[in-house]
Symmetry: C2
Subunit: 365 residues, 2 copies
DNA sequence: TCGGATTTGTTTATTGGTTGAATTATTTGG
DNA sequence: CCAAATAATTCAACCAATAAACAAATCCGA
């Protein structure tokens, strides 16, 4: 089951090794030489040279001055991701704003656009038309900069079906909305918390496995396992907001009662931070008991309240996580703020290029 | 991050395609011909022939009479997993018994040994010595049958560290017990619920993604995602028994209060099935909200009580799962009974051979 | 200042593995 | 009994990685 169901031919070998070289460069702090890449990957210098040539010719890698080195020997050519390579268009629609950003292959945010305004007042079609305008503006600005966009991804606060269909976005009032092309680019749509988690993953010092919890009006979570987003069987994982905390507690708009959202949603946090922390702690304990995650990142509206929430959450974790005595659970605030989802969306696009450079090179002839 | 960090050479291509061919045969209901494998995998008939030759020579595949076919043309040679190929030794230690079984490459149970007796009365060393005797007996019987054992795996009701170290097995009274070789074979140790989930996966008509819940004295769960067991960051996933159901409820021996185990453990089910069903439903709703699993399998002590528990669980699921209206959650009883963990352990071994036949062929020269 | 040591990067012949086309093998049906 | 059909094998071509030799560019010590 595990082994991917596809045959492998020689070209797949090349595709894999191209990706391997590109990722090695991406994960290097300094600018590695071809020889350094060969040492890091286990490939031959000759092979690395050939692969690097392809990547440089395709505009994915750039040859720069080498990292200064001491000692004898021919000086190396430094390699780095090309800032002029394909870029990603990250989009977001949330309750009170729309946003777009352009992130280049190196991960740098090149352009950023935000249009404030209550999206609930617009029909889905009108909201998407406005977003298309924003996206088109972003694309034009990017192209004036010499950037080619490899694709677009959109973050929405709701349940998304595989592809481009928003099944339900309760806080936007959307139901079964299909997302069209944006700025002439195909769009990948995903849940806001999922993409924010990916954004956090790219941030500095990020762990490869963690739970990202986003506390807005609703509460969502993104589960990142070993650098990969876990989306669940139908793409609807991470609905922590409707995990039951107090079985006979407050009724929830979802029809259930005692949902976390009723105790740790935006208003609840403002009204009683201690209650919110306890409820969060109970729900997070369940996550850790089930998934054995060592790191929890609090984002969205929780980040500014982190200091006030922390000890209450940790008390419950300590009490309710079975393995708390064997290994600690680390709690920290998100670093990216409200841009996380949009950044994560753009990351999805450039991650696609980084993971399959051969595909990009082939289609970008 | 995703792309495995290893270079790929031509031999990796062959290794992958060998596994692909073997899995294709394994997943075929009938006995496929080389031509059928080629059609199914996308490889050339010439390539498939070469790969099959290796697998037959290595004793992994057997050529049999073809599946009857009508029409003209040269008759095909039918291929199937060889029942004489490498077999797996599955072991289990539980509170009141030890067990061992030999499963051949086709998945058939060839031999089965059970030794009843309260394991809590024995020291870990004595229990393991007794298990070694049972394993040696199983190995001897298997070898008399012409079977070669590819390895062994052991199921224990507790938390296992990567490798062979049992950190805690509360119901056995074990703490930091290292498991030695059994019958001269290296042993992979894993949690009982995890392995039972894998056993269930192999069973007839199994879904590739599901949650397996095992209700013994404690309650454990195995999370199977797309045919793969999810073990968590440290291998301690699935501790559903200590998910909080009623935050201020009954105190638990783990130090917390309101754990599922207090409401749906073996005694609790006997005392009040309705309470157990409600508590299970609440905890399972949390799992589905977090992981978006469409199938839940109730095993261990829950299987015989399934009829009595079902409606109570489903009521809570219906009420508390956010996406219940969009897609159903299926509940079913496990099919394998108390052998599931032991079978799953043996499956781990033969799964290793099936997923890396090249490795097996190389070491079995 | 020059020549060896050293490290980087490229060239070339070899090897391993898949492909595609042609070939052989074995059956059914007219 | 021969044509059609299907299965499996053989063989030349191709692609990609490897290993080893070679070229390039620097440092360092005499």
């Amino acid at each position: 089951m595990n082994a991917s169901r596809a045959p492998v031919r020689q070209s797949s070998v090349r595709a894999h090794n191209l990706a391997l070289v590109l990722q090695t460069v991406a994960n290097s702090a300094n600018r590695p030489s071809r020889a350094a890449i060969a040492a890091a990957t286990g490939l031959t210098r000759a092979t690395v040279s050939a692969l690097v040539d392809d990547l440089v010719a395709g505009g994915l890698l750039a040859e720069l001055d080498p990292a200064p080195r001491t000692g004898a020997g021919r000086p190396a050519a430094g390699l780095a991701l090309s800032p002029d390579g394909p870029a990603g268009l990250g989009l977001e629609i949330n309750v009170d704003y729309q946003a777009a950003c352009v992130v280049d292959l190196t991960g740098a945010v090149r352009h950023r656009f935000v249009a404030r305004g209550d999206q609930r007042l617009l029909s889905p079609a009108d909201a998407l038309a406005a977003l298309d305008d924003l996206a088109t503006q972003a694309r034009a600005t990017a192209e004036a900069d010499g950037l080619v966009l490899a694709g677009a991804a959109l973050a929405v606060p709701g349940l998304v079906a595989p592809g481009d269909l928003v099944r339900v976005a309760p806080n936007l009032g959307w139901l079964d909305v299909r997302v069209p092309e944006m700025a002439g680019l195909p769009v990948t749509v995903d849940n806001e918390a999922n993409l924010a988690a990916l954004g956090e993953l790219r941030a500095d010092g990020a762990e490869p496995t963690f739970l990202y919890v986003s506390g807005e009006i609703g509460i969502g979570a993104g589960i990142v396992l070993d650098g990969e987003l876990y989306r669940g069987g139908r793409g609807w994982s991470g609905e922590i907001g409707h995990v039951t905390v107090y079985p006979d507690g407050r009724p929830c708009r979802c029809g259930s009662s005692g949902c976390l959202e009723q105790y740790a949603g935006q208003e609840a946090v403002a009204a009683d931070p201690d209650l919110a922390a306890a409820a969060l702690g109970i729900a997070l304990s369940a996550v850790v008991n089930l998934l054995d995650l060592g790191v929890i990142v609090l984002g969205g509206g929780y980040a500014p309240e982190f200091a006030r929430l922390r000890s209450g959450i940790e008390a419950e974790l300590h009490r309710r996580v079975l393995t708390a005595g064997l290994a600690p659970v680390t709690l920290r605030a998100a670093g990216l703020g409200s841009d996380a989802a949009m950044r994560g969306a753009a990351d999805v696009v450039i991650r696609g290029v980084r993971e399959d450079p051969a595909g990009w090179l082939a289609q970008a002839v």
